[in-house]
Symmetry: C2
């Protein structure tokens, strides 16, 4: 069989994404990824230099869609900026109910691959988080929130903390506390 190369690569990446995200990166071998993609290991190594390259491609491919999803969660609300930020955290509670949800792929990759010589993972994850933080700061500023950079950082802390608590306790209701905190932190920076 002869397929379109870009299609095959996408299928391998999709299989890697599902498995890495669900089971963890070290827990998944290249054999399992090749099998899940319906591809021989030979073909996998024809499209990727090795597992490290596949890991980097996996994270890089998640950057844009995850970022878009986060922004969409904020923008969906029709209310003011505080309601929008609240919507972000309520979206976490909703998503966490899905059994396929396993938290933030970037945070989990960094956490798992600590002290392994794969610089790409750390760099991609930091870039992703920074991108959302920067977007938040601009969005807050455009809604006349004072100290937007500081508030954006505080919201990032709440975002990852919310996700971690939900993962540990297997209880999406932690998002409600995070949402209330986020609203309070935003509202106290609004003009009177």
């Amino acid at each position: 069989m002869r397929g379109i190369p870009a299609e095959t690569r996408k299928r391998i990446l999709a299989a890697a994404t599902d498995l890495f995200y669900a089971k963890g990166i070290r827990a998944v071998g290249v054999d399992a990824i090749a099998a899940a993609a319906g591809v021989t290991k030979r073909t996998l190594y024809l499209h990727f230099d090795g597992k490290d390259d596949l890991i980097a491609a996996y994270l890089e491919a998640r950057n844009e869609p995850v970022l878009a999803g986060l922004i969409k969660s904020v923008m969906r609300s029709s209310g003011g900026i505080a309601a929008q930020i609240e919507g972000l955290f309520l979206a976490f509670a909703r998503q966490a109910g899905n059994p396929n949800w396993h938290g933030c792929p970037f945070a989990r990759a960094v956490s798992e691959l600590r002290e392994t010589p794969n610089d790409a993972v750390s760099e991609i994850a930091a870039r992703h988080k920074r991108a959302f933080e920067d977007w938040l700061a601009e969005h807050l500023a455009s809604h006349h929130v004072a100290e937007p950079a500081l508030v954006a950082r505080q919201l990032m802390v709440l975002v990852d903390g919310c996700i971690t608590q939900i993962l540990i306790h297997r209880d999406p209701s932690y998002a409600a506390a995070a949402a209330a905190a986020a609203v309070a932190l935003v509202e106290r920076r609004l003009p009177d």
Copy 2:
């Protein structure tokens, strides 16, 4: 050589702790732990039923000292409750400067071992987090903070979010934003 059994067990556990915490749990083999403990693999399996048992013992052993350290960070400050909570986050910034610091061992274990059939990990981690949350709620209540249970949860979210951000960005200064958020969330619940 014949050693005191409890001593040998402690040495194995200490080696496992160092390696698991620094490199991750899947990244460390039992051979490496035995070698680091200066013990044969035979001896290791004489003290632990297997790697899963060792993982559970590692986390269980961290519970008390980590909890004690967190409480100490809060109680060190001589100021009021807001200053105490601020001190907790400033302690994170201090510890994160140490190259041996790698975040929360419980959150990292849960994150890495997601969807592996080791119930103990999830249970121990949840119990640990819950213990600090409960202590915080009682401490806040004793300082006349309103809605202590909710505020305690919000602080837990900030704690784990702060740690995650520092890990990802390799930048302890994220603790400052978390500290400011924590102070604001506590102060607004103080009696006038």
